[in-house]
């Protein structure tokens, strides 16, 4: 599904050059559940942003479903994100003025689906995360766990093949974290590829493969048997 071929990412900060990714090679297969671990500054977020087409590499090639998308322009990348990728963020990143349903509809607006279709899809996604009775609540009327479930619904509403979760449990207590990870597990069981960035061992262990990073390089890549 994803092939990262000797990708480097360099940030220039004044006179200093910071090599966030140093010649990284990694492939992720269809249906995998991968955790990327590492301390802050290890390059795990940068790798995740490049996988999610939010950022472009300084050098190297990125193949998404066998297509080299390194040269895609901003609009083509936006289309790809819209169609193939769902994001889950640590701070949920819901739009405060929109209610749960409208937040979930948002990606479907950009894909140009008609109103009836997108409402059905959004309702189904909210039902999947168990929030059917909260669709008219605004984010500030929902608990952290509920907000994260809305953002999962938003990520899956357009039925993407890949879900990227950036510290999805970072702002949640441990009980809620377990609920969220169960949802991600269920999604993975339905065949969606999940890539998770975390620095917590307990969370990483939900994955079937754990990649550890340090100083912009992959230092460990091993199979994991989820508990």
């Amino acid at each position: 599904m994803i092939k990262i071929d000797s990708i480097s990412k360099e940030y220039v900060m004044g006179d200093n050059k910071l090599l966030a990714l140093n010649n990284v090679n990694v492939s992720i297969l269809n249906g995998e559940f991968v955790s990327i671990m590492g301390s802050s500054g290890s390059g795990k977020s940068t790798l995740m942003n490049i996988i999610g087409c939010l950022d472009v590499p300084s050098s190297g090639d990125y193949f998404f479903k066998d297509e080299n998308i390194s040269n895609f322009n901003a609009n083509k990348l936006a289309e790809l994100r819209n169609r193939e990728i769902g994001f889950i963020f640590q701070n949920f990143n819901l739009l405060p003025r929109l209610n749960a349903l409208e937040n979930v509809v948002l990606p479907l607006l950009y894909s140009g689906k008609n109103q009836k279709e997108r409402n059905n899809l959004a309702l189904k996604a909210l039902e999947n995360v168990g929030l059917k009775d909260r669709i008219h609540h605004r984010p500030n009327q929902l608990s952290g766990g509920q907000q994260q479930r809305v953002s999962i619904a938003r990520a899956i509403a357009g039925s993407p093949k890949l879900i990227l979760a950036d510290e999805p449990t970072g702002a949640l207590d441990s009980k809620t974290s377990i609920e969220i990870m169960k949802i991600l597990n269920d999604l993975n069981a339905k065949g969606i590829t999940v890539v998770l960035v975390t620095h917590e061992d307990d969370i990483a262990k939900y994955a079937s493969r754990i990649i550890k990073m340090k100083d912009g390089q992959i230092i460990e890549d091993k199979k994991n048997v989820p508990n």
Binding site: L54, D55, N75, A78, N93, R97, G112
Partner: protein
């Protein structure tokens, strides 16, 4: 993303901060209401001038006797009628620019007919009076030469007189008594409507000779007359002729160039010009206000939109992460600024209509509202929204998704 979706999202974010949105559109509100007021003042003045010309005829000067002062004591407006038919002939002969002159004597008196009575102004004159004053006949005819020459007791009446003496019945061939003298009605004049100071239709016109012999023999003895309406062949000659008349009249009445004249020349065109000029000054003033406030309003919109883009950087990042293209973001913010300016435009139109209504009621100024000004206001305010909203919108659209998402 469809337009309705964009509008829906825009109104959501505008409504989340209503006070700010309204304050932002204040410049547009003032600008648009000034534009509307300006245009309607301008076109109202133009219309009024056209109507006045329609009523009183164009290129006319009115020459009237003036109370001369006798050793510093004013003798009153009607004390001496200094104008004569001889003056009229002399002016006609000396000044070729004059195409016609209608002499006039007048009195206000009781009219009795049909068992009713009515106080009206009676004018003694010639047929030129109708041509120069733009009078049209609804019924009947003007005077025949022999009626003028022999001093026949025939009268032509205005609409107001008809209404008060005969109601809606035809007055033709009816007899009316003016100052107890019976006259036969031969014509009915078309309605002209009132002005601010007089009802023009409250009039009765009789031949000059008849009036002088039977109605005003004491008031206007000999060949004295009250005034004359002088028609000048072209409007370019109006002011020159006014001066020439002054010169000729001073010569006839033996008044030195700097002495007090016993006559006054009223130039109606001058009055109209002054009226037009003052509304033009008003319009320029309002246009300046409109221009400045539209520009300031536009800058205000740009300023607030820049603030909004900065405030919502993270949101823009979120939208981009779920698949918003540059175009989607650009349109979203453009529509937001367009909506601010259009709402400002609508409120401005409302305010402008209020001002127009208030001014025309209160000052009795003629203001005409034309739809052109409404269209113009819409075009103005929407183009300001687009022009001044474009830079902030483009700034938002050009954000890098990851930078926007990371913005705190």
């Amino acid at each position: 993303m469809s337009l309705t979706d964009l509008i829906y999202l825009s109104q959501k974010s505008l409504r989340s901060n209503i006070l700010r949105s309204v304050l932002t559109s204040l410049g547009i509100i003032i600008g648009v209401s000034s534009v509307i007021t300006m245009i309607s003042i301008g076109s109202g003045a133009r219309q009024e001038v056209e109507e006045q010309i329609e009523r009183f005829g164009s290129n006319n000067l009115i020459l009237r006797s003036q109370s001369s002062s006798n050793r510093g004591v004013s003798m009153g407006a009607n004390s001496i009628n200094t104008l004569t038919l001889k003056d009229m002939e002399a002016l006609k002969n000396e000044l070729p620019a004059i195409s016609a002159i209608a002499p006039r004597v007048s009195l206000s008196t009781q009219i009795i007919a049909n068992g009713n009575n009515w106080l009206a102004t009676v004018t003694g004159t010639t047929n030129d009076y109708f041509n120069l004053g733009n009078w049209k006949f609804e019924l009947g005819r003007s005077f025949q030469d022999d009626e003028l020459d022999s001093g026949s007791r025939v009268a032509i009446i205005g609409k107001t007189v008809q209404k008060n003496l005969f109601g809606t019945d035809s007055p033709i061939d009816e007899v009316i008594r003016i100052n107890k003298v019976p006259f036969t009605v031969i014509g009915l004049l078309d309605a002209k409507g009132g002005t601010a100071w007089a009802d023009l239709d409250d009039t009765i016109v009789v031949p000059l000779k008849t009036a002088k012999q039977r109605l005003v023999a004491k008031k206007f003895p000999g060949d004295q007359i009250r005034s004359m309406t002088i028609n000048v062949s072209s409007s370019d000659l109006l002011f020159k002729t006014e001066k020439d008349i002054d010169t000729v009249m001073r010569k006839l009445h033996k008044i030195s160039a700097n002495g007090n004249p016993d006559f006054v020349i009223r130039n109606y065109a001058q009055f109209l010009n002054a009226r037009q000029e003052s509304s033009r000054v008003m319009s320029i003033l309002l246009a300046t206000v409109a221009g400045i406030s539209l520009i300031v309003g536009g800058i205000g919109i740009m300023n607030i939109m820049l603030v909004t883009v900065t405030e919502r950087t993270k949101e823009i990042g979120v939208c981009m992460s779920v698949g918003a293209k540059k175009r989607d973001i650009l349109l979203q913010f453009l529509i937001e600024s367009l909506m601010i300016s259009l709402i400002g435009g609508l409120i401005g139109i409302g305010l402008g209509l209020g001002v127009i209504f208030g001014v025309s009621e209160y000052f009795n100024w003629k203001m005409s509202l034309d739809y052109f000004s409404l269209v113009l206001s819409f075009v103005f305010s929407s183009s300001i929204g687009i022009i001044f909203g474009f830079y902030p919108a483009r700034k938002a659209a050009n954000l890098n998704p990851i930078d926007a998402l990371r913005y705190e």
